[in-house]
């Protein structure tokens, strides 16, 4: 059986797509609109962000959607005519998502 690595990237893409679909709209409403109209203060949000459960929430909201972006962008860039970058695109896209995930672990767990 052909061992294509696509199942890893596709499953991360799909999981990120689900997370972004379910949680991004409401989270943007909180950090942009609710904050701008003073429904919640920056200090209140910061206190909330420090809570261990919120840290897990933020980690999932960073890690999976980054891979969603990486996978979709890799294909859309080729659709837009960047066929020549076919070899380097996956490295750059998934590499960036991996780096972001590492930083998210650092900021949300260690720091």
């Amino acid at each position: 059986m052909v061992k294509s690595n696509e199942p890893i990237w596709w499953s991360l893409f799909s999981a990120g797509g689900v997370v972004a679909a379910f949680f991004y709209p409401v989270t943007i409403i909180i950090t942009a609109i609710a904050f701008s109209v003073n429904w919640i203060s920056a200090e209140g949000l910061r206190e909330l962000a420090g809570h261990p459960l919120t840290r897990i929430y933020l980690f999932l909201l960073i890690f999976l959607p980054l891979f969603h972006w990486a996978h979709r962008f890799r294909y859309v860039a080729m659709d837009l005519g960047l066929k020549g970058l076919g070899g380097i695109l996956p490295v750059v896209c998934y590499g960036a998502a991996l780096l972001g995930t590492g930083l998210a672990v650092f900021f949300l767990v260690w720091a």
């Binding site: 059986m1 052909v2 294509s4 696509e6 199942p7 890893i8 596709w10 499953s11 294909y75 859309v76 659709d79 066929k83």
Partner: protein
């Protein structure tokens, strides 16, 4: 054709038809034909009128005129259609532009070379490979209605290739196995009597198989038989992914190819 003998209409419709005669011309041209307009005419009726009454040199494929044989697929005003199901009343009074199916080499006029598609059907083994061959004396390979329901939708494909002409992924890379062939591979993979899932996986679980598909979904939109090839491909991605995780996480486990 009864309709063409009917009297009482002065209306006409203009067809702009793609012409390519390799022995006469280097580049394809468009030829305009004015044909009578009838409410119940489809584009194929108009083409047959041209062939019979105006210009016998026009070449195109057709057979059943009832959406079953899948041979009269053409681009009608840029959209892949079965010309036997494309009513001219839906375009009238505008000019109707008829071209051969996108992304396939043109042999002559509206006739394309379908060799690539036929090879792909062979590659994915688009036929039933019984799990165990048994002599006729042992009776038929039985199946429950629930088992039939699993694949029935994908078995409605008539190989008309409209989905290929709608697919920009195939347009960009003709190595892509493509909508109909993958849907048909799924059709047999999901068949309880079939035993070749593993062999098909070699082809359809590769990059040129399901993974190149970006789910544009236009194949499903143009399919005259509601096969939903786009759905078939995404479902195959789920199967391939489950299979991949299974083989990585439980490499010693026996894989149940049918439950994928």
């Amino acid at each position: 054709m009864a309709a063409s003998e009917a009297k009482g209409t002065d209306k006409t419709v203009v067809l702009e038809v793609f012409r390519y005669r390799p022995e006469e011309e280097e580049e394809p041209t468009f030829q305009r034909y004015e044909v009578p307009y009838f409410e119940d005419w489809v584009v194929l009726d108009a083409l047959n009128h041209i062939k019979d009454e105006i210009d016998g040199t026009l070449t195109f494929r057709w057979s059943c005129r009832m959406g079953v044989c899948g041979s009269c697929g053409m681009m009608v005003n840029g959209d892949p259609k079965l010309t036997c199901a494309a009513f001219i009343r839906d375009y009238h009074p505008a000019t109707i532009r008829v071209e051969p199916l996108n992304y396939f080499p043109v042999i002559r006029d509206l006739v394309i070379n379908m060799e690539d598609f036929l090879e792909k059907l062979t590659e994915v083994k688009a036929w039933l490979v019984p799990q165990e061959e048994k002599p006729v004396s042992e009776g038929e390979y039985r199946q429950t209605p629930a088992e039939l329901a699993q694949y029935k939708q994908f078995s409605m494909c008539i190989n008309c290739m409209l989905c290929y002409s709608a697919c920009p992924v195939y347009g960009q890379d003709s190595d892509f196995i493509g909508p109909a062939a993958i849907a048909l591979a799924q059709r047999y993979n999901l068949d309880s009597r079939d035993g070749a899932t593993e062999e098909r996986a070699e082809v359809i679980f590769s990059h040129e198989g399901i993974w190149e598909c970006t789910f544009v979904g236009d194949c499903t939109r143009v399919c005259p038989k509601n096969v939903d090839p786009a759905g078939a491909i995404q479902q195959a991605k789920v199967s391939a992914t489950k299979d991949w995780y299974h083989s990585v996480l439980v490499p010693w486990g026996k894989r149940d190819v049918k439950s994928r």
